[in-house]
Symmetry: C2
Subunit: 173 residues, 2 copies
């Protein structure tokens, strides 16, 4: 049951302690958690960019109004997909699902490490994607799914209770 | 660190103990974990079907060759999306991402409860979706993303080590 609490305690943290860095060892651990996600036919069509450079975080914030908290963040992870990873078209069909599961793992791992994090969406918004592609030198075939700003929490919030009994259907609709 | 082990220990379990039921309380807990996932603009465009009826599990198995383990399963959860949940088109853009995060929460919660589970894909395969839609009486606007067979594990397997250092890029590509 303790393990379940990790899932129920996760929340979106948008304010971070000033000047408290997130070490590279922690960022690597978060991305290892991401790569532990399930993946269709185990193609694993994901790539991860870990950003700690303050100037780069500011530039990303400037171009992404929905991710302005990057200005306060100590780091960020950009979860990307590679839809052409395999020749059989599996990645093309399932990269969003695989990368979203990886993203949830990263958010839960951040909670486990006492970090604050929030999922800010990019794909399928082509304008947002186009704005950050040159900043990260992304190859044309790589699609950034989201940006996860990270830092030590500077706000204390409770997880949202999203339980809605009416969304659970027994046996059939 | 213990919390991280949940993420690193998750694996896909395809064989289940015969006759050992998964109680409705546990299924509800799994779906509560699903509904604790992050969701774009908190639209939560998800619906969950929990199946325990052996005849229905067999019928689903018959129509879904990639989910034949449903024959052994004690239960299944079908994670569905509702792309038309909101008027602003947010759900249409993000339902796959939201529902995939919810699915990963369910798989992790299953691991936490000592259950075995595996993600078997439906969307975007229209043939698979069409085959199970009538069995579950799904309304036209509801799209099943996947089927998660569930049961107490009848196999002992280690989690896959999917770590690939080359997929982690520091600062930029």
């Amino acid at each position: 049951m303790d393990d379940l609490n990790l899932i129920f305690n996760r929340k979106s943290i948008r304010h971070y302690q000033n000047g408290k860095e997130v070490g590279k060892d922690k960022l690597k651990l978060l991305i290892q958690a991401g790569m532990s996600a399930p993946s269709a036919v185990n193609i694993c069509p994901w790539e991860f960019i870990a950003v700690t450079d303050a100037g780069l975080l500011d530039s990303l914030a400037e171009r992404l109004p929905n991710a302005s908290m990057l200005r306060e963040a100590a780091a960020a992870i950009i979860v990307c997909g590679d839809p052409e990873r395999d020749d059989s078209g599996i990645a093309r069909k399932f990269w969003v699902q695989d990368c979203s599961a990886a993203t949830e793992n990263i958010l839960l791992a951040a909670e486990a490490l006492g970090l604050g994090a929030v999922w800010t969406g990019l794909y399928p918004d082509q304008e947002r994607i186009g704005k950050i592609r040159p900043l990260l030198s992304l190859p044309e075939r790589i699609i950034p799914l989201n940006v996860i700003p990270l830092g030590y929490p500077a706000e204390k919030i409770l997880p949202k209770d999203k339980w809605e009994e009416s969304r659970l259907h027994w046996e059939k609709w």
